[in-house]
């Protein structure tokens, strides 16, 4: 396995794509073929199943580079699985097929998400040398003044970004609803969604660019300031303004998301209700507050919470724009920075804090999505 991947790694990058995708699809086709063929009744297929149960786990562990006894254990477990399948209530081969469908996903999830999550929880209690130190890492996080700034900034991000993106997205969706060129207007605001945070940060770097007053400004913002006779400002050095200027980048990206989801929701408002309100003599503003808002409430909450989660996790903007600027750190970025300084324990502590902050919002968000599905 490793040798194979190493060999693929020696190919030119673009050639690696068809090779690895081809190999992967061949493996997937093999699994589907086994699922298809093996459950058939008859002696021949029983032997095929038994062979698959013994060979595949053994081969898998061999490919992973295990020692012999681990391979042997895998083969024995495979044999036990065959017996389990043979005596299963749904008929021979059913459990075999089920396993074929689910095993790849479950193996990856267990190795790549479940185990690492618990490992990180444990790591956050260890020092960098791997000694158990209890909650010292967390005590460190909450005792350093620079970390307090980081936590404060994170809270601001979660509060400011969702509110502004949603408000602007909603206003825009309402304004352009049923107007001419609606699709085109939507694309203009939606486009930043396709741009990476790195790209967006570079775009906004040039907007905020600062040159000393005796030179021509090349950033739009300072260009406008000087046009009206003001002195150019070194925007990203102004604390706490710089944090908010970084939030503008995320607002710029997320407004499109809010706009698209809310626009779809607005189009779903029952026309009878709007017409009834019209006949009652309400004006557009009253209709908006009393008819539109209540009926798009589930979507509004989903948008708000989804953007909150995104603003908690985003780290690219601060990394690409602001590492050189004072007091702009947020938890998601601090976590990576510490990791790159090989401070695994403190980095894990930040990851756990991030997890605890995200947790309630995600649960709330999932519930709202469920609810809005039920309404539909």
């Amino acid at each position: 396995m490793k040798d194979l991947l190493t060999w693929i790694g020696t190919l030119p990058p673009l050639l690696q794509v068809p090779v690895i995708v081809g190999l992967f699809l061949a493996a997937a086709a093999g699994i589907i073929l086994l699922i298809e063929v093996a459950p058939r009744p008859g002696r021949k297929f029983t032997i095929l199943r038994l062979a698959a149960c013994l060979v595949i786990p053994g081969l898998a562990f061999l490919l992973l580079g295990s020692v012999w006894w681990a391979v042997a254990v895998a083969v024995v477990l495979g044999g036990l699985f065959f017996l389990l399948d043979y005596r299963s209530r749904e008929g021979r081969g059913y459990v075999f097929a089920l396993f074929g469908f689910l095993a790849p996903a479950f193996a990856l999830l267990l190795i790549g998400l479940v185990y690492p999550t618990f490992a990180t929880l444990w790591n956050s209690l260890l020092s960098n040398r791997g000694v158990f130190i209890g909650l010292d890492n967390f005590a460190w996080v909450f005792s350093q003044p620079q970390n307090i700034v980081v936590i404060r900034n994170t809270i601001f991000w979660v509060l400011v970004v969702p509110v502004f993106s949603t408000a602007i997205g909603l206003a825009y969706a309402v304004f352009i609803d049923k107007s001419r060129g609606e699709k085109f207007f939507k694309v203009l605001v939606f486009m930043p969604m396709a741009i990476s945070f790195v790209g967006a940060s570079i775009i906004w770097r040039f907007v905020y660019d600062y040159r000393p007053a005796d030179r021509d400004q090349i950033g739009v913002l300072n260009g406008i300031v000087t046009l009206f006779g003001g002195d150019p400002v070194n925007w990203l050095q102004q604390v706490p303004l710089n944090s908010f200027l970084l939030m503008v980048v995320l607002i710029w990206v997320q407004t499109g998301f809010a706009m698209v989801v809310l626009s779809a929701a607005i189009k779903g408002v029952p026309i009878e209700q709007v017409e009834a309100a019209q006949l009652d003599g309400t004006n557009a503003w009253q209709r908006f507050w009393n008819v539109t808002i209540p009926s798009i409430r589930p979507s509004l909450i989903v948008v708000l919470t989804t953007i909150s989660i995104a603003s908690l996790k985003v780290f690219d903007i601060v990394r690409t724009m602001g590492t050189a600027y004072p007091d702009t750190g947020i938890i998601a970025n601090e976590m990576v920075t510490l990791l790159q300084k090989f401070e695994a324990g403190r980095s894990s502590a930040f990851a756990v804090i991030l997890f605890l902050l995200v947790l309630p919002i995600v649960i709330f968000n999932a519930r709202q999505i469920q609810k809005s599905r039920e309404i539909r």
Partner: protein, 311 residues
């Protein structure tokens, strides 16, 4: 009231008509139009600014703002030449991005549609509990999994001195990135594809079963073709996500494997040195996702409305 309407239906219709016209006028009233124009301009100017910066000669860019191109139109593609073929070429990272994104889109899609089918159409004990658990894995921020996964890749699994899994150290450029992206995509992919696959009418599946089709055939002949729209929208989503990702690239795509996002992020660190590469480089990195997005927008929006957002 009732009688008057019944007696005079034409009146009601005209009232409704004028009312509708009024709303249309109100909602697209002058203030609203101006506001939406302002928002549209504010949202496009930064990108246009970057594009114009990227096609101006370097000396001009350093001296004057990009808006001067309107007065003094000098256009050059030299910057793009430098970015692609110059000393600090971004061509390698650009190709790396392609080499990372395509497999990292295909892998989770195939694995997740297999799992999604089992969750939707196969009965087994504890199915609902397991599905909720997979769904719940979405709450784990990627940050939580980074450190252990990294050490798993570099050191493998050992119990004492015996090697269970030898790790991926030195195993190809991209294998770690592909696997990491695949794993992190799975919970959302399984959830979305399951939702779609389970909405296929039960009659269709039952009819196939009565005709003697087994699960393998049902999956390949019925479920996959019918779920193509969902597969397409998740594919676009995942492709954009992988292409635009920086976090996983920073941790897993080291050295020669760095994709363009990482290369650009490193360029911004040394701002001033290679500043002239940034606008053109950023624009090249934006080009592919933007094309994919504009061409396949319909599927992308459908995916968004189905709840595909990932953090």
């Amino acid at each position: 009231m009732t009688t008057s309407i019944v007696a005079n239906p034409a009146l009601k219709e005209s009232v409704v008509k004028t009312a509708t016209r009024n709303t249309k006028q109100r909602l697209t009233s002058r203030g609203a139009t101006i506001a939406s124009l302002v928002i549209a301009v504010l949202w496009t100017i930064p990108t246009i600014g970057l594009f114009l910066t990227s096609i101006r000669p370097e000396t001009d860019t350093l001296r004057t703002g990009w808006w001067n191109i309107l007065v003094n139109p000098t256009v050059t593609f030299e910057n793009y030449g430098n970015v692609l073929f110059g000393r600090d070429s971004l061509l390698g990272p650009f190709i790396n991005s392609i080499a990372i994104s395509i497999p990292a889109t295909v892998f989770p899609l195939v694995i997740a549609s297999l799992a999604g089918y089992a969750f939707a159409w196969m009965k087994f004990k504890g199915r609902d509990v397991l599905f909720v658990l997979v769904f719940a894995l979405q709450i784990v921020p990627i940050q939580m999994a980074l450190v252990p996964l990294l050490s798993l890749f570099s050191r493998g699994i050992t119990i004492g001195d015996t090697v269970i899994y030898e790790g991926l150290r030195g195993a190809g450029l991209f294998s770690q990135v592909w696997i990491a992206h695949t794993i992190f995509a799975l919970p959302l992919a399984i959830f979305l594809l399951h939702n779609f696959i389970s909405e296929i009418p039960a009659d269709v599946i039952e009819a196939a079963r009565v005709d003697g089709a087994s699960h393998g055939q049902i999956f390949f002949r019925i479920v996959v073709p019918l779920s193509l729209p969902a597969i397409a929208s998740f594919a676009i989503f995942q492709f954009l996500w992988v292409w635009n990702d920086l976090l996983i690239a920073l941790i897993f795509a080291t050295g020669q494997a760095a994709p363009i996002t990482r290369a650009l992020a490193e360029l911004t660190g040394e701002f001033g040195q290679n500043a002239e590469l940034l606008p053109a480089g950023a624009f090249i990195s934006i080009l592919i996702p933007l094309t994919v997005f504009l061409a396949l927008q319909r599927y992308f929006v459908r995916g968004l409305l189905a709840g595909s957002t990932k953090g």
